[in-house]
Subunit: 475 residues, 2 copies
């Protein structure tokens, strides 16, 4: 082997890079070092697996190790990179047998992802307490929820799975009540998932609103939708502790104890960058690895991409850390091309995201928080409107709330959100495109969006929001 | 009355203009002259009324005459403008009692809309033969379709309706078979509507594909969807004549006669501009009234908007005539502001449109036809891809076809279409926004669109299309 492109991490960013590189530079070697047994799995699909909407764990895999092999990629699972020497351009690898070896690289991509944090809660050794950041956790939670007499081991139909952990969880009595700690994506999606499995669900959110990055209008309607579907939502309610013996017994808050058989902690993730400790690596926002527009770090020939890396925000032009799936895939692919000799920007991010709770869909993009916008140098003005999703006479027309944020000085659109039960989420892409194009509110108002009674009224909710915000800006 | 803003036509463009003007210039008079009895109705909703999805004709009215009065607009129905004298700034009006009078204007807006044409077919005096371009036709067709013993006169619950025509149609035997002449919007929507009413439906299209402005990929899938739902589609089949005595009896084509009890002719519309004959008015594309970026015609203080007027196409920068609802509303509103003293661009059009046939949705924008693109000075390159609408493991993921057209020289996106059964139509707004922003395919490929398993795979179908077309452009 000579002149290798070495990738650390076998998930979205890493395998996108390796695959693109393989196609573009067929004469060079590409090695992917993955510390675990899992590769290329759909993190975002795990709540739907737990909910039972996805039948088998294997459905969440986009690529098998064999498929990666077939692409001509040298994938080494169970290989953990524990150190990087940028001087000699080598990584130190712990191999499955516990020995260490050195792997030289010509270029290195760090695509080590993130890890779920648990805040002040220690879930180790506690049955029934989970985070949801890897496939083993999803398989274990699914087994735990099932009635021991009814669990179908075929649900966890992947050889990589921690079978012992699954079997143990499957053997435990089925839970009837659940607490979810944290009202972000994971919390909201898990509330729906656990209701789908028939549990009594309490959701605890430290701050006043669910899904804080989506803004108030979204938070309110998602909360109402959860409540309508039997989820008890506690806002402004920090959970003080998880009460457990071997098994979770209760959550403690406000001096109360609420007994539960299952707890899910979804309070955030952090970038995995420890392997670069001592190399002189520059970290940025959120302690993620600082990268430039081509995914380069400050170390020569070392790139980073995905949940462990920063990106450039299209609205501020500044560094941001927003760990999301498309960002990882896109940056990985671009870096694969760049390393192969075709310099390709990784693309800017707009923080575009969508999520649903039962039948309520929402999306967000850009800067919604007034303080964050002010900090980035904007003078934010915001309006929230409610408009129909279809012509009023067409069955299924539903109230859709749009929040639009602009900079007062130039009228530029800097953020927005949308929420409603009828095709609301996908509409956020229109705003994402407008943000990327630096459009003003006046330009947004004049967009020629599609009008057809089953899909949109003459004035699409986004156009209504632009009209109202434009009025505010010019008054 | 002094210094009046006179509007000819009481539908989308005219009443949008009058309403906006009323708010912005409260001290001036605004007069709306409407030749008929109907105002402000949802043309696009009529097929859904005929289908029975909309319960009452009145549901299709956005504004009542009383509501217009309440806005302080001097609305005069039954007043037909038969001539314009730009020298003396007067219009000649035929009043309901048949007399003529002169109405002076300070500014004039011509918002006379379009009219359905019937090509070589003469439908006059033939029972069971319809176009679908006004509310009386919709009410009559609905009554005609109903069984005489079951027709509910409350369906046509608007005093303006031609009750005699409705009653006559209601008295005729219910049809069992229908022919639709023309495979554009009206044809496709009416095919669904008439199937919903239980008729045996044959659709005749002169050219090879349905919905020609949507391109081949859309036409194919819409045709398949119609066929799947029991519509017999005849492409490349010009109807030679409608065979009728008092009542429609058959359509003749290819030397055949296909007997039918109902015929709908939807072969296009033409702008209503005759009232300006002899004024020196300049007509443009499609014989529509030529207007500039503020809706001005070549006559001083005479504006035009809506289906009777041209607009500027955002891709070509040239004149175009694309009669659609949002264009009319938006231009009317802008002209109302301009005349009130706040010069406001009417906005460019992108030809954005969406339509559905049963469960298949589609949208289109910009230049899709290679010849039209070449004529506009582009060197068009096009790719059509098929991608999933959701993550593959998520229930409901459906094949979505995206066609993307770009100019080879600069890589600029100049057109696109999308078709699929899962939230496909509304996605066209993303492309409309990209077109308005003059984005290149490479910029489109790097858009940060929302990824969430229930709504979009990591690579949204639009991103997949951009990726593939970008590959073609750079090879």
């Amino acid at each position: 082997m000579s002149d290798p492109f070495v990738v650390v991490g076998g998930d979205a960013a890493g395998l996108s890079a390796a695959s693109k590189f393989r196609r573009e530079a067929p004469d060079r070697d590409v090695v992917v070092l993955e510390k675990g047994r899992w590769i290329s799995y759909a993190y975002c699909g795990m709540p739907y697996f737990v909910a039972g909407r996805v039948e088998r764990l294997s459905d969440l895999l986009s690529l098998s190790p064999g498929g990666v092999d077939d692409r001509g990629i040298d994938l080494r699972r169970g290989h953990e990179v524990v150190g990087v020497d940028p001087e000699t351009k080598r990584v130190r690898v712990r191999t499955p047998d516990g020995t260490h070896r050195e792997q030289p690289y010509t270029e290195l991509l760090v695509a080590t992802g993130g890890r779920a944090v648990t805040g002040e809660f220690d879930l180790r050794g506690v049955d029934g307490a989970f985070t949801l950041h890897d496939m083993d956790a999803a398989a274990a939670m699914d087994a735990y929820i099932a009635d021991p007499t009814e669990y179908d081991p075929e649900r966890a139909d992947v050889s990589a799975v921690d079978r012992e952990r699954v079997d143990h969880n499957a053997s435990l009595p089925a839970p009837e009540t659940a607490a979810i700690v944290g009202g972000g994506y994971v919390g909201v999606e898990m509330a729906e998932a656990l209701r789908a499995r028939g549990l009594d669900v309490h959701l605890f959110q430290r701050s006043a609103r669910l899904l804080p990055p989506f803004g108030g209008a979204v938070g309110e309607r998602i909360e109402a939708e959860l409540a309508d579907n039997g989820v008890t939502v506690h806002t402004e309610t920090p959970v003080e502790s998880l009460v457990a013996d071997d098994r979770i017994e209760a959550v403690a808050f406000d001096g109360e104890r609420h007994p539960v058989d299952l707890a899910v902690v979804g309070v955030g993730i952090r970038p995995n960058a420890a392997l670069l400790d001592g190399t002189g690596i520059e970290l940025g926002t959120g302690d993620a690895i600082r990268t430039d527009g081509h995914g380069r770090t400050n170390l020569p020939d070392v790139y980073a991409a995905g949940d462990c890396a920063t990106a450039i925000h299209t609205v501020t032009g500044e560094e941001a850390w927003v760990p999301l799936g498309l960002t990882a895939n896109r940056a990985g692919r671009a870096i694969g091309a760049t390393v192969a000799g075709d310099p390709t920007p990784v693309g800017e991010i707009a923080g575009t995201a969508a999520v649903k709770a039962f039948d309520m869909e929402c999306g967000r993009v850009g800067l919604l928080d007034a303080d964050a916008a002010a900090e980035a140098g904007f003078d934010p003005v915001s309006e929230t409107i409610t408009a129909g999703s279809r012509s009023g006479y067409y069955p299924g027309a539903a109230e859709t709330d749009v929040t639009l944020v602009a900079d007062r000085n130039f009228g530029r659109v800097i953020g927005g959100s949308i929420v409603g039960p009828d095709r609301a989420a996908i509409r956020i892409d229109t705003l994402a495109t407008a943000l990327e194009a630096d459009m003003t509110v006046a330009e947004l108002e004049r967009l020629d969006l599609a009008y057809a009674p089953p899909f949109s009224p003459v004035w699409d909710p986004i156009l209504v929001a632009a009209k109202v915000l434009n009025g505010t800006l010019s008054s």
